[in-house]
């Protein structure tokens, strides 16, 4: 197989993901409206109630709206990753996943394409959100927007890989509601997206510890530091580690000998 053949397959998956995203206008609006409600409504209410000290990467006092923007970016990517998961479960139920899985390329590569395509789609949403946030006066330096890009790719890949792994474990579309309850909400609320970990520690050491080890926290922190042209090496390493782990589990989950086909044994 030539590199061109691999590229062509990636292009196919990316194009399909993009087309599906464009056709599902409701998904695009939901992806933007959800964080905007948090930014405009929720943050306005919490601004007065929540005092923020100066913590890295911030050099001065910031408003609560500024603080939660990286968390909301993470939220966009988290939902996008779970949307990819939902799309895989849908594809499996509708049969269209068979077309992908019977392509004569390594299955691990095809799954990587799917994860990468989802990450690219999430970038459109993130930058659209940042553009709207700028209209509300929440801006970063031009270099910050650029520096965040590779980090957003990494965090998008990690969240996509987690979503894809979950899809290999979800047997039916109806079970997806469980993912919302048991993955998205805990991942988001038990993180540094809405409040710094030190703030959480004032209430509960246990919850603060959970926040500190939550991969989503590290995705948010990596994005936060990148927007201010700083590196968060520990967070980046952890995000990369989770990406590799979730990617590996996904490949196992979709292995014909061990994955969905064995559990979803079709009637002969």
């Amino acid at each position: 197989m030539t590199a061109a053949r691999y590229w062509s397959a990636f292009r196919a998956v990316l194009r399909r993901e993009t087309l599906r995203f464009i056709k599902q206008r409701g998904r695009f609006f939901a992806a933007l409206v959800r964080p905007l409600i948090w930014l405009v409504v929720f943050a306005a209410g919490f601004r007065a109630a929540l005092g923020l000290s100066i913590i890295p990467p911030y050099q001065t006092y910031i408003t609560y709206e500024v603080y939660i923007v990286p968390g909301l970016i993470g939220m966009i990517q988290l939902f996008n990753g779970m949307q990819s998961s939902l799309s895989m479960v849908y594809d499996r139920e509708m049969g269209s996943m068979r077309v992908l899985l019977t392509t004569p390329l390594p299955r691990s590569y095809l799954l990587a394409c799917k994860i990468a395509a989802g990450a690219v789609v999430s970038l459109f949403q993130v930058y659209a959100f940042l553009a709207i946030a700028a209209l509300f006066g929440i801006t970063f330096s031009a270099a910050g927007y650029i520096a965040a890009l590779p980090v957003l790719v990494l965090t998008g890949l990690m969240l996509g890989a987690i979503g894809l792994f979950l899809s290999s474990q979800i047997r039916q579309l109806e079970n997806f509601a469980g993912v919302m309850n048991f993955v998205i909400f805990p991942a988001f609320f038990l993180s540094s997206a809405l409040y710094p970990i030190w703030k959480m520690r004032e209430s509960s050491d246990v919850l603060a510890t959970i926040c500190a080890v939550n991969p989503f926290t590290h995705a948010v922190e990596a994005i936060r530091f990148a927007l201010y042209l700083e590196m968060a090496p520990l967070s980046l390493a952890l995000v990369a580690g989770v990406l590799v782990t979730a990617g590996g589990l996904t490949v196992i989950g979709y292995d014909p000998g061990r994955g969905l086909r064995t559990r979803q044994a079709p009637e002969p």
Binding site: A4, A9, R11, R15, S96, V99, T102, R261, P266
Partner: protein
């Protein structure tokens, strides 16, 4: 994947295939070959093991016992690369309903590494062959079942596969549509393609087809239609099918 392909003898060869779902045996020592240039009909009642066999050939199910050779290459040894010469139409619809016909076909063409000019030419040609050229920009959701099936056949042949396998592609379609699809598959076989076609619809078998009768996970008979009729002492495919399979036993009961 390298080395010469053993295409003159059998395009697709299954040897001693067995498969279990838990403690239930779905296939038991199945073996047959599919020659190029002919339609091989895999005839069996519901539950005979046809879909399991297709799952194994297409690597959607793990091949644990026996081996499958596709164009001279062992599926066990070559892995996904062995699927290269294969065109597949699944029993379950597999088109993306939200995309247009052209987008679905382009998606597949890209997955198969076809250049855009070649893909476009074959997409147009394939759709014209089935009288669907004007539907290219329609969402698949807007097509009826027969048209969707035809699009799936166009898709499965875009990369001009040496072997075409179809799992009950005509189930649920009206008679003219079924006849058109059956005729098209025979035309493709006449031009050299090896066609393996699973069905339980006896009237779709042509006199010059090769026949493999599968029932309860085992091959009950195989060979030319005339040979199967002779060995089973039947005057028609329907009679042979009834004598050789569970369907016949239930009728007798």
């Amino acid at each position: 994947m390298s080395g010469p392909a053993d295409m003159t003898d059998a395009a697709l060869r299954l040897a001693n295939i067995s498969h279990d779902y838990g403690r239930r045996r779905a296939l038991d020592g199945v073996g047959f070959s599919v020659p190029p240039g002919r339609v091989t009909v895999l005839l069996g009642p519901n539950g005979a093991g046809k879909t399991t066999l297709f799952g194994l050939i297409s690597r959607l199910l793990p091949l644990r016992q026996g081996d499958i050779t596709i164009a001279g290459h062992s599926l066990k040894a070559a892995g996904a690369a062995a699927l290269e010469p294969l065109g597949i139409v699944f029993q379950q619809p597999t088109l993306d309903l939200d995309l247009t016909v052209r987008q679905n076909l382009t998606y597949f063409a890209d997955l198969r590494g076809l250049s855009r000019p070649v893909a476009n030419e074959r997409i147009v040609g394939g759709l014209q062959r089935f009288g669907l050229a004007e539907r290219a920009n329609d969402a698949v959701r807007e097509l009826n079942g027969g048209h969707r099936r035809r699009v799936e056949i166009v898709r499965a042949t875009l990369h001009e596969p040496a072997i075409l396998i179809l799992d009950e592609p005509t189930v649920g379609l009206d008679i003219p549509t079924r006849q058109a699809i059956v005729a098209d598959l025979h035309a493709r076989a006449a031009s050299g393609t090896a066609v393996l076609w699973a069905t339980h619809l006896i009237d779709e078998v042509w006199a010059d087809d090769r026949l493999v009768v599968l029932d309860r996970g085992g091959v009950k008979a195989q060979g030319d239609v005339a040979g199967v009729l002779e060995s089973s002492g039947a005057d028609s495919v329907a009679e042979a099918f009834a004598r050789l399979t569970m369907a016949g036993e239930s009728e007798a009961a």
